[in-house]
């Protein structure tokens, strides 16, 4: 069982949804936003990319199939830049591209930049943490931790894997906001790692697998509300159609952990607003509300605002 439209449920229960958009030079995609509340102000990072995703199950698919990223013909790279903004009264204020020039080196692979960056405040420093795949010619991906000061990336740390040093792509680790430099790396089984900036990464917890769950890949940050911690994960289905063209869908779940990192509640899988490709990398508590930020079809970005009581009810009682 899956739920196809969480946003509708939210709107019908006192919540709101806001588009996160601002003018970009090339009129290209803003998506996969992250959110952080710091000193009573709401900050949002929005990913920008020059690709345009077209995903359809109609007969009007492109000649390359139902799921295709349309790149500019003069640029095969998938280049990500990040825009940091304050969010106030339903609007994004002063969207400013993070200046990475101080630490940038010539990209070695086609996917360029820090992808799906989550906003983190650890020890009173602001970080973006996401995956970077442009440092080697093979596209190996590793999580990175970038310290941001006044819209500039001032430090960059490429996080080693804790055990499988040969893994190809490490991404979507979920930063635990109340425990500096700790991530939930994976959720089935739950695996928690501690990052030592400048040093190695340690696995500090490994739970037991849950039967019957496809996978639970990272998504949002991990936040604490009351005595529990929460995050939003995603599950993926990839396949090829009869023409051997790739296709995929993602679905999400909200997870609730106890103090021992046992998953004590999980919602049924859901889509945010009926998209087949949606992605969440932002979760925050703000006053009496829960704010969830997500991307739709890798082309647009939204903020879903839920009454906190309703959010907790969703998780504890399940989405119905």
């Amino acid at each position: 069982m899956a739920f196809n439209n969480l946003a509708k449920q939210v709107l019908e229960n006192g919540g709101k949804i806001y588009p996160l958009t601002f003018p970009t030079q090339k009129k290209t995609a803003l998506f996969n936003p992250s959110i952080l509340v710091k000193d009573d102000r709401v900050w949002i990072n929005v990913r920008h990319c020059q690709y345009t995703l077209i995903h359809t199950d109609s007969k009007w698919e492109s000649r390359w199939g139902p799921l295709i990223y349309l790149n500019p013909e003069n640029d095969i790279t998938l280049t990500t830049t990040n825009f940091l903004c304050e969010w106030k009264d339903g609007e994004l204020l002063n969207p400013t591209q993070i200046d990475t020039s101080f630490l940038d080196v010539k990209p070695q692979w086609e996917f360029v930049g820090l992808e799906d960056a989550r906003l983190v405040d650890w020890n009173n420093k602001l970080y973006l943490t996401g995956v970077r795949r442009d440092t080697e010619t093979t596209g190996i991906g590793r999580m990175e931790l970038s310290e941001i000061n006044n819209y500039k990336e001032v430090k960059r740390f490429r996080i080693p894997t804790p055990n499988n040093k040969e893994s190809y792509c490490e991404k979507n680790w979920m930063p635990i906001l109340d425990t500096p430099f700790h991530y939930v790396k994976w959720c089935n089984p739950v695996e928690i790692v501690k990052v030592n900036p400048g040093g190695d990464t340690e696995q500090v917890f490994l739970g037991k697998p849950i039967d019957g769950i496809n996978d639970m890949r990272g998504g949002s940050q991990v936040i604490s509300i009351g005595e529990h911690r929460f995050c939003i994960v995603h599950e993926t289905w990839y396949w090829r159609n009869n023409q051997n063209n790739k296709d995929a869908t993602y679905r999400h779940r909200i997870l609730c952990f106890d103090n021992d990192w046992n998953i004590i509640h999980k919602t049924i899988p859901f889509n945010f607003m009926s998209g087949l490709i949606e992605f969440c990398c932002g979760l925050a508590e703000y006053k009496d509300k829960i704010l969830i930020t997500f991307g739709y079809s890798d082309n647009s970005a939204y903020l879903l605002e839920l009454p906190k009581d309703y959010f907790l009810k969703l998780v504890y009682a399940g989405i119905e």
């Binding site: 439209n5 946003a7 509708k8 709107l11 949804i17 806001y18 588009p19 958009t21 003018p23 970009t24 090339k26 009129k27 290209t28 995609a29 803003l30 998506f31 020059q50 345009t52 995703l53 077209i54 995903h55 359809t56 199950d57 109609s58 009007w60 492109s62 000649r63 349309l70 790149n71 500019p72 013909e73 003069n74 640029d75 607003m273 009926s274 998209g275 739709y296 079809s297 082309n299 647009s300 939204y302």
Partner: protein, 390 residues
């Protein structure tokens, strides 16, 4: 935001998806809008709405730049859905035009003009300008396909008969100015002139559009580009002899023209022997003198057997504008001494480049014609001059 809320409440509604797509489109957030136009194509049963959405996907990708292949794909989808509607053909032709794929541009215009039902209410919100848009695209494409006459005819038709938005109007006016040098193009047509500065038209004017004339062309260069004799040969059946020192030019010329071009140094050529051998009579109709540099043109002039042969018209290139040489004055004295009258002096294609004098033989051209054509000035901007006569 109402459009978003409506979509959330009914994400499989065609109206809701369309309105949200339009909201993004109007904000120029083209990536944002694509997903929802695509949703319309998935859920709608209304072919016209699907058609519009497919085109909008194409327009979104177009406006993001450098996605031509994808743009064309979505426009082709739209055409396959409603092949009698013109909008997608027009945008497709426009895309091909921008890509300099002239044949494809022209072909889709032709198909559209044949297939489309232009009685249908046009969807101008899809950046479709109307039926004349296909003519505009054809005027551009046909030019680059070598169909110059067609291109010019269409451009002049559009200029004279169609109310167009400023951008198109300026483009058409620019094309006409490029061809004619002026918007006052009503007298000569481009087809009727191959010379650099209407020399062929001048020769025809002076000889009263003579058929079966004879010419001696010194410095032929190209068989028809900037050729003073191509029109005479092709349309007025003139015979003649051309000279050029460049062997490649001679091969090219002889491959494309019926009249002969001889590879020779014009300053040393035995004109009398050649002209005697042809036996075409004492009076010829046209002598062109155009060598490089101006000194060589004068040396060639000195070789012409004026005692034995006369020419009704002479065009003499002195290149005064670039060399400020002595040969303009020397050639004038010489030709006057041979019985020729300077009729158009200091011919220039613009306001500042006098490069040629045009002469008529006082005994072979009647006085009225000489007086009628006479224009002795420091600069004869030839486009302005020629339109008074043709």
């Amino acid at each position: 935001m109402q459009e978003l809320n409506n979509y959330i409440l009914n994400p499989y509604g065609e109206k809701e998806a369309w309105e949200l797509a339009e909201w993004y489109y109007n904000r120029e957030d083209y990536a944002g809008s694509v997903s929802f136009y695509v949703r319309v194509t998935e859920v709608s049963k209304d072919d016209l709405l699907i058609y519009k959405s497919l085109i909008k996907v194409g327009l979104c990708l177009y406006k993001q730049g450098w996605r031509s292949t994808y743009v064309k794909g979505y426009l082709l989808h739209a055409i396959s859905l409603l092949p009698k509607r013109p909008e997608a053909y027009f945008l497709l032709a426009k895309q091909y035009e921008e890509n300099k794929e002239w044949q494809e541009c022209y072909t889709y215009c032709e198909i559209a003009e044949t297939v489309c039902d232009f009685e249908l209410q046009p969807l101008t919100e899809l950046e479709y300008v109307g039926k004349w848009g296909f003519m505009f695209e054809k005027s551009v494409a046909s030019w680059w396909m070598g169909r110059e006459k067609e291109s010019i005819d269409i451009s002049t038709y559009l200029y004279e008969n169609v109310e167009m938005p400023d951008a198109y109007k300026k483009a058409v006016e620019g094309n006409i100015r490029l061809i004619y040098g002026t918007l006052d193009y009503s007298k000569p047509t481009y087809k009727d002139n191959y010379s650099q500065a209407f020399q062929d038209r001048f020769v025809l004017l002076a000889t009263d559009y003579k058929k079966d004339g004879k010419y001696l062309e010194i410095g032929a260069y190209h068989p028809y580009e900037h050729s003073n004799t191509y029109l005479l040969e092709r349309d007025y059946n003139w015979k003649g002899i051309s000279l050029d020192i460049n062997p490649k030019s001679v091969i090219n010329f002889n491959g494309k023209r019926f009249n002969e071009c001889i590879e020779a140094d014009a300053t040393k050529f035995d004109y009398k022997q050649k002209m005697d051998s042809l036996g075409w009579g004492r009076d010829w109709d046209y002598l062109q003198l155009d060598c490089e540099p101006a000194a060589n043109t004068f040396l060639a002039l000195m070789q012409i057997p004026f005692e034995d042969y006369r020419f009704r018209v002479i065009t003499y290139e002195h290149d005064w504008y670039c060399e400020k040489n002595i040969y303009r004055d020397k050639s004038r004295k010489y030709l006057q001494s041979m019985g020729y009258e300077l009729v158009v002096s200091n011919v220039s294609v613009d306001d500042n480049s006098p490069f040629e004098d045009w002469w008529l033989h006082a005994e072979l051209i009647d006085k009225d014609t000489i007086e009628k054509l006479k224009s002795i000035k420091e600069i004869n901007q030839i486009k302005k001059w020629i339109f008074d006569y043709i």
